[in-house]
Symmetry: C2
Subunit: 275 residues, 2 copies
Amino acid sequence: MEKVLEKIRRNERMSAMLKILSDTPGKMYTLSHFCALFGAAKSTLSEDIDALRQTVEAFDLGRLETVTGAAGGVVYRPEISREAARDYIEGLSRELSGTERVLPGDFLYYSDILSTPETVNRMGRILATEYAATRPDFVLTMETKGIPVAFATANALGIPLVIARHTSKVYEGSAVNINYVSGSGNIETMSLSRRAVRENQKALIVDDFLRGGGTARGMVELMREFHVEVTGMAFVMAAVEPIKKKVSGEKSLMTLEVLEGENPEAVVRPAAWLS
Amino acid sequence: MEKVLEKIRRNERMSAMLKILSDTPGKMYTLSHFCALFGAAKSTLSEDIDALRQTVEAFDLGRLETVTGAAGGVVYRPEISREAARDYIEGLSRELSGTERVLPGDFLYYSDILSTPETVNRMGRILATEYAATRPDFVLTMETKGIPVAFATANALGIPLVIARHTSKVYEGSAVNINYVSGSGNIETMSLSRRAVRENQKALIVDDFLRGGGTARGMVELMREFHVEVTGMAFVMAAVEPIKKKVSGEKSLMTLEVLEGENPEAVVRPAAWLS
């Protein structure tokens, strides 16, 4: 990356710079870094960045943020407009609705959606856009199905992912365990390595599914044990029933209702806050 | 995204095009798509793409592949040079070596590394570069710790991730279960939803850690049940001991040896194939 080309044209420099910035969302690059990389003057790069800022906004490709001063530089935020977010989630809701994906017990099969990179990255961008202002230090999820979307959200925010486990594993060192009541009414254990989190950090909870909110409530309690503030809770899908959840203030991308009958039908809708 | 700007300058067009391409690795875009987006002629866009191809290669930012003909277009591959890959893994190996990360039982704590997006994306790019030529249809991993790096690899290849579970969950529908002998000598169960995979597909196995190879062997057997060919096996870390593994032909990014003593020390080295 330290290579300096002989004569780098503006379009090449700008393309490479946006690519480097957008590969590492939330990471600040100093102008000096790009000066060394491209062999260009700071004033030239400032003009490039101004032009790039307009380009990414015009095509809804995110946002470039410049910070002035000694500790200054430029950082890319993969924000997405509310309109594009709604359009995307509407399309996904249509794809998930119908009779084909309903499993015995009125569960919805959507594991494929939850691990298709293009879809997962888009969902991560939407959640990151919504929660960036709360400035979380990490994203917390509970294994297993929510891990890809939680990772994509962490990636879009430029912060680490932390994964709570069902049991403490020997290879994670000393851990804090709590018990919680799961959606099925069972008492289960949630465990997190002591090394994973520091006191007074802020956590954004991201998971795949919210039914009664037992697991989400467990994650909130787990964070309390670590003296970590929860700045938000986001889910890919929330069941309409039960209406009363054990948590509040959460946001989901979609809601799920299963209409019973001989051929049970899933009705998936974009969440109200997206419209 | 259908927005056409009044007069789009070349540098803006090229920057936006590379950003769109690199957001969705492995996805083919037709020239017509960009013609509509930018209001430019095909010949103009072909020139832009030629210039972009040189730019990404000059700065080791991946590779642009153009396919001619009716079904043609342009696709971005986030490949990384062997030299950059080795430099990165050398740095990571140094960070993981020493006494601080050794846990009781001579395990190494590196869950943080396995869920830091920038690191995970880099490892995913390295593995994708190595296995792209085998043309897998999906990446397979076994829950939990390898999921982020498996997802990043799938993302870099532009293919889905498939996650095998310890037990079949009601919300994944009918599943295939197999039993396997884990590293600790216990007989464990591995389960995968029938809907997750189709016959005659090709799988790339990616996981966080290889000790004896019991779990990896289980994944190979699971794929056999689905009539899926395994095109490769990749791990973030492989223990030096036991030397004889239950699988062969695998590649890891790093090797781990723990020197016993009062203060056990982890010796982490880049794998030989990287040099």
